[in-house]
């Protein structure tokens, strides 16, 4: 996603930043779900609030990654036009990984002893 020539129209960088951040946040929720299943110590570490258990850490890590990466990517891509098709593909793959990682028959494949 190297910056390309500036367009007279609105640069697509801010939208690319939001899309990839959305994908990253989603993929992180999927990854946290898999990791918590695989490791009891990670599951314990993600238990940020006992009444709701590790779900709090798994989802809030994803939400934090979403917003932080959005801010970072926004400053990287603002005012720039990037290859939208490639960025969209990356974002959709990340979003798909998020769905896969949260699907019980998948994340239970990684269940620890």
């Amino acid at each position: 996603m190297t910056p390309q020539t500036m367009n007279e129209e609105l640069p697509n960088g801010p939208v690319v930043a939001a899309l990839i951040a959305g994908g990253l946040g989603s993929a992180t929720i999927g990854l946290m779900t898999v990791l918590a299943e695989a490791s009891q110590s990670i599951m314990n570490a993600l238990n940020w609030w006992n009444p709701a258990g590790p779900l709090t850490g798994k989802t809030l890590v994803g939400v934090i990654i979403f917003f932080v990466s959005w801010i970072v990517l926004h400053f990287i891509f603002r005012g720039k036009n990037v290859n939208f098709a490639r960025a969209a593909t990356i974002a959709l793959i990340l979003l798909g990984l998020g769905i896969l990682g949260t699907f019980p028959p998948f994340f239970k494949l990684f269940a620890g002893e």
């Binding site: 899309l19 994803g62 939400v63 098709a85 969209a88 979003l95």
Partner: protein, 177 residues
Amino acid sequence: MTISVREAWTVLHGMLFGAAFLLAFAGGLAGLYSLRPEWVTGEGVKERIFRLKVGLWSIAVIAWATVISGTFIVYPWYRAKPPEGATDLTEYPRYLLLADPSKAEWHKLGMEWKEHVGWLAPIAATVVAFAVTYYGSALAKKVGERRTLMIFYIISFATAAVAGVFGAFINKIAPIR
């Protein structure tokens, strides 16, 4: 005609927030799909974009309200652990489901998928609302961008639908009281 606090929160989470999100989806999708310069005049695009912005941001806020209320208010009641030796599990839905092999999958598949995948809905909905707000009327001429946003939007709906449908069934089989 009485309703407990727990039942009221469950209704708010599932029937008001959740159902409002799912119902509003169709309007947003129709707006995004028909946002084409060959179908709508310039004035029409402007008018439609205003409605889309209001609608999509409302959907995003509702989606956040749904997952936050679900995870931090309703879910603790669902997963509460019964006291040692308890035989009546009706107030402990998770354990009620797991105690019956014919119902255990409602937790192992339904609840465990719902509680995680539902969080993807507000993230995807927020991205779409931001992009439509950013591009405004210019989005009508951006075919690739509009197509990608529609996919994000449909995935947002699909994840919310998984959460909503399983939530409705689970609350029927093992209600939070």
